[in-house]
């Protein structure tokens, strides 16, 4: 579950905040597949649409993660569903997802979402992040 959407409207549209998301997979094989799918959507500039759809579908209990369900989710969210399917089938992001996950674990990240504001680790709650962002905007903690 991402905590970013509430902050996006409040800070990003006014140019005060830049959001960066790094997909990792610490919850097993389905996580790895989902992270690869998000990357494949990103190839077509549809990372945000796809990841929002992925969270929403899982939250609503509409999707069990599999190659097929991830491909179905891409329909209407990416420009070229066939290219998305080819990307996912190729597994070309598998190594990168594993490496990113290993690196994140090396940084002590063992739960998600893990969030950093200007490099400072902040609890991944909307309130904590909002406070940290406002502190930074006011000149630092």
């Amino acid at each position: 579950m991402s905590v970013l959407p509430p902050l996006e409207e409040e800070f990003v549209t006014s140019g005060r905040l830049q959001l960066r998301v790094q997909p990792i997979a610490i919850l097993g094989g389905e996580s790895e597949l989902a992270a690869q799918a998000a990357e494949c959507a990103g190839e077509q500039g549809s990372f945000w649409q796809y990841s929002d759809g992925l969270f929403a579908s899982q939250g609503a209990g509409e999707i069990a993660i599999s190659q097929d369900s991830l491909k179905r989710l891409a329909e209407g969210r990416v420009a070229d569903a066939a290219a998305f399917a080819s990307c996912l089938d190729s597994g070309r992001y598998a190594g990168a997802v594993k490496a990113a996950t290993a690196e994140a674990r090396g940084r002590g990240i063992n739960s998600v979402p893990a969030t950093f504001v200007n490099g400072r680790k902040v609890p991944a709650t909307v309130d904590a992040l909002r406070s940290a962002i406002l502190e930074e905007l006011a000149g630092g903690p």
Binding site: G15, Q18, R20, Y93, A96
Partner: protein, 89 residues
Amino acid sequence: MVGRRANKGKAHERRAGRGSQWRAYALAVGAAGAALAVLIALVEAGGDHGGGVGTPLPLADATADTPLRSHILGDAAAPVTLLEYSDYR
């Protein structure tokens, strides 16, 4: 005669040995060139860190076949950056 023939044989072996050494040297040079080409390609692929939407993060891209991308939303000049590591399951 026999001795000369034997010497010829040894000379042939030495030439053959030198040929093998040159082949090994050529293979080593070729392999080093290929490795350099791969390294250059990797550096170029990761050369736009910190730019706009979809630019790769430094993490992981040196060890992965296809680098991950840091997915960015918002103004690059924004005073605050929020990085989220997220699991999509």
